[in-house]
């Protein structure tokens, strides 16, 4: 494993060092808010000590990033493939428009997580949030799977306006009760065995990363949020 001391270097230099490295495994030590780490990276595995700045793994295309702490805003923006694992929490707009790959967050996610997430053919993006997510989770979601586990949360583990404008994909909430303000484009129901089966491998994988066992997820039911096909997201237009 190659260790890169990051503390006194800017993001451009760091990304160049990451790209130039022969090693596939790279440890970034002392990261101090440098943005764009791993942008567009298609291979290699980065381990980050310290706090990466905004837009970590933007356009990520297959590489793996493990943050041993918290991440900031815009993690995995327009990510296409790969994996981002965050041992702590992350800021706003995580996984904006992501099309593939996985983002695992052990703690909480800020506002606007998973906005405009989409899916295509074999590409099925997944974002799992261990704690709670802020408002606007999965707005305009067009595909993929967002799971909020609400571990250690008392109430509903999402903020307001969850799934507004949703027109594809699924949101799973592990919660005793649903958010009170679900928009009309979203249909919610308690998960059935088939729904849970569909996410079992994801939760197993997530658990492996963070040392969670199946029984840690007991105690609260899962709800599934899907676009309400009875009430599609469109405005009625009149040709003029």
């Amino acid at each position: 494993m190659l260790t890169i001391q990051a503390s006194s270097r800017g993001y451009r230099e760091l990304n160049e060092a990451i790209t130039a490295a022969q090693d596939q495994d790279i440890l970034l030590e002392g990261v101090l808010g440098q943005r764009f780490l791993g942008a567009g990276l298609s291979e290699k595995s980065l381990t980050i000590h310290g706090i990466p700045g905004n837009a970590l793994g933007a356009y990520l295309d297959g590489a793996r990033i493990h943050v041993c702490g918290n991440a900031q805003d815009a993690t995995g923006d327009t990510m296409n493939d790969g994996q981002i694992i965050i041992d702590g929490s992350c800021g706003d707009a995580a996984g904006y428009a992501m099309r593939g790959g996985r983002i695992y967050i052990r703690g909480n996610a800020g506002y606007r997580a998973g906005i405009h997430m989409k899916a295509y053919q074999e590409k099925l993006p997944v974002m799992v949030i261990g704690g709670r997510a802020g408002s606007f989770l999965g707005e305009y979601q067009a595909g993929g799977i967002i799971i909020v586990l609400g571990l250690g949360e008392e109430g509903v583990p999402v903020g307001n306006f969850c799934g507004t404008g949703m027109h594809g994909g699924r949101i799973y909430l592990r919660t005793a009760s649903l958010p009170a303000d679900l928009p009309s484009q979203v249909a919610a129901r308690q998960a059935e065995p088939a729904d849970l089966e569909a996410i079992a491998p994801i939760l197993e994988d997530y658990g492996r990363h963070f040392g969670l066992a199946a029984q840690d997820l007991e105690g609260k039911p899962f709800y599934v949020l899907e676009p309400n096909t009875q009430n599609p997201y469109h405005q009625l237009y009149t040709p003029n």
Binding site: Y11, R12, N15, T19, R35, F36, A39, G40, S42, N54, A55, A58, Y59, D61, D73, A74, D77, T78, N80, D92, A93, Y96, A97, R99, R112, I115, H116, K118, A119, Y120, Q121, K123, F136, E139, Y140, A142, G143, G165, H167, G168, P232, Y233, H234, Q235, L236, Y237, T238, P239, N240
Partner: protein
């Protein structure tokens, strides 16, 4: 049957002495206006369906057809025009938001037509472009304000990435989905032949067109359709779309029914799923956020490509442009309120935004006053109709122009403004295979090359007349312009004098 309040706007006039009932018009019209009546043994037409696209007229072998504006009329009323009344009928019948296509058709002032160009007489003589070299090449990107040298004293030429344009005219963003495969093929090939660029729009880049990457600007919009590493790296430049002149502040919505086959593949979303581009980028709320997107794109493409930011011309455009110039963007693109569109709410298209001429002048002035004009290139679009408009735009301060409606007209568009129906009889704004094939990309690209080449000659001629032999010397040269019939306020915004001064 409920009473139909809507009367046909046009009448299909068929000269019975010429019509041979060959039924060509019936085959040509995707709006199903014409059909053969076996009882009458004659062709008949349903005027109400006609959008006045001239396809049947152009294809009628005996020239039996013409489309005329119906003289059926409401009682004369300067306030309640037929249009105003009809639009109310449409909305009262459907409860729908009026949806239109192509640029704002209203009679707002066209400032291009109130600008006059200078020419040399006696002193500083004109230049004959047929004899003398004329430079129409221009470079888009940040210009450095310092000269850097290596240890030996040689000038270091490596600056910020630039786009080299052989002619200061590019084809602006039109997505694959809003226009056809053959229209894209025509634009891509023409851009390559002309040494300029076309723009993918927000619908991704079809696999077949990666080969034109060196002449392609790839767009990143709020929906991020088809955006991934290969796409970003495929183009010569990346354009962040913040807004569009035809519908400032409004997102896009390509209905699921149009997301089929290649369109779905290119946008990288499932067939039948709606393609919704939210009005804002939900990760951009400030110039700092924009800067972050600009630099994330630069990082992902290793600083090899200029990043453009496109905005609609709105009231506060100069301040916004100043912010964009400071965001690290290499080029600012401004789209005027007459810019075209595949579909936009009528009320937005016709009432929101400002003319590109005023926006351009005020942006260029503002950037100069702030001493940051060289930090960005400036590209304007939104109804550039001819070579004189190009010259005037450059003299007002643009580095280059974007054309789209003009390009589509070159491809055969008749401005029927019904693109939103997806039934473009000219094979442009449609995905129906039988219509798409009407546009032959060999012919289409050649017509685009012809158009831009002709404009290039005209630009050279106009420049020569002014005694100017390069685009660089014309840029921002407002002394070459005079206004006619403009108020003091308009002249001061345009930064020009009145004719005679």
């Amino acid at each position: 049957m409920p009473v139909n309040y809507l009367m046909p706007e046009y009448e299909v006039y068929r000269n019975p002495a010429r019509c041979i009932a060959c039924r060509a018009c019936e085959r040509q019209c995707a709006n199903e206006v014409h059909h053969y009546d076996a009882d009458l043994k004659a062709m008949v037409a349903d005027d109400a369906k006609c959008v006045n696209c001239h396809r049947c007229v152009s294809l009628c072998p005996t020239r039996a057809l013409k489309i005329v504006k119906s003289d059926h009329t409401f009682r004369e009323n300067a306030n309640w025009t037929g249009e105003a009344i009809t639009e109310i009928y449409k909305q009262a019948a459907t409860g729908g938001v009026l949806l239109s296509a192509m640029g704002n058709p209203k009679a707002f002032p066209i400032y291009w037509d109130k600008l006059l160009i200078n020419a040399s007489q006696v002193t500083n003589p004109p230049i004959d472009p047929l004899r003398e070299p004329m430079e129409t090449r221009t470079f888009l990107g940040k210009k450095s304000d310092t000269i850097r040298r290596d240890a030996q004293g040689n000038i270091l030429c490596q600056g910020e990435p630039q786009l080299e344009l052989k002619v200061p005219i590019m084809f602006s963003a039109m997505s694959y989905g809003s226009i056809s495969y053959n229209a894209h093929a025509s634009l891509a090939r023409a851009a390559q032949a002309l040494g300029t660029y076309y723009n993918t729009g927000e619908g991704g880049l079809h696999q077949d067109f990666y080969q034109y990457g060196a002449n392609t600007i790839v767009q990143v919009a709020s929906g991020r359709f088809g955006v991934f590493s290969d796409y970003l790296n495929a183009g010569a430049a990346i354009e962040i779309k913040m807004g569009q002149g035809a519908k400032p502040g409004i997102g896009g919505h390509l209905p699921g029914a149009k997301i089929v086959g290649d369109i779905s593949r290119t946008r990288m979303i499932p067939e039948g799923s709606d393609a919704i581009s939210p009005a804002p980028h939900h990760d951009i709320y400030s110039i700092e956020d924009l800067r972050q997107l600009v630099f994330s794109l630069k990082e992902a493409t290793h600083y090899q490509k200029p990043v453009f930011v496109k905005i609609a011309a709105v009231h506060n455009v100069a301040a916004i442009a100043s912010g964009i110039a400071r965001s690290g963007a290499d080029v600012i693109c401004i789209d005027g309120f007459r810019g075209g569109t595949g579909a936009a709410p009528t009320r937005i298209r016709d009432n929101v935004g400002i003319p590109i001429e005023l926006a351009l002048a005020s942006v260029d002035t503002r950037l100069r006053e702030e001493g940051i004009r060289d930090q960005v290139g400036l590209v304007v679009g939104g109804s550039i109709r001819n070579a004189a408009d190009v010259v005037k735009a450059i003299a007002l301060g643009a580095d280059a122009v974007y054309i789209a409606t003009s390009a589509l007209i070159a491809l055969g568009c008749h401005l029927c403004r019904s693109c939103q129906s997806g039934k473009c009889n000219w094979g442009i704004a449609t995905q129906r295979p039988e219509l798409v094939k009407r546009l032959n990309p060999d012919v289409g690209s050649q017509r685009l090359v012809n158009l831009v080449t002709a404009w290039k000659h005209e630009i050279e001629e106009i420049m020569g007349g002014m005694g100017i032999n390069s685009i660089e010397a014309l840029r921002g040269n407002r002394m070459m312009l005079r206004g006619i019939g403009l108020t003091d306020r308009e002249l001061s915004i345009l930064g020009i004098r009145h004719a005679g001064e």
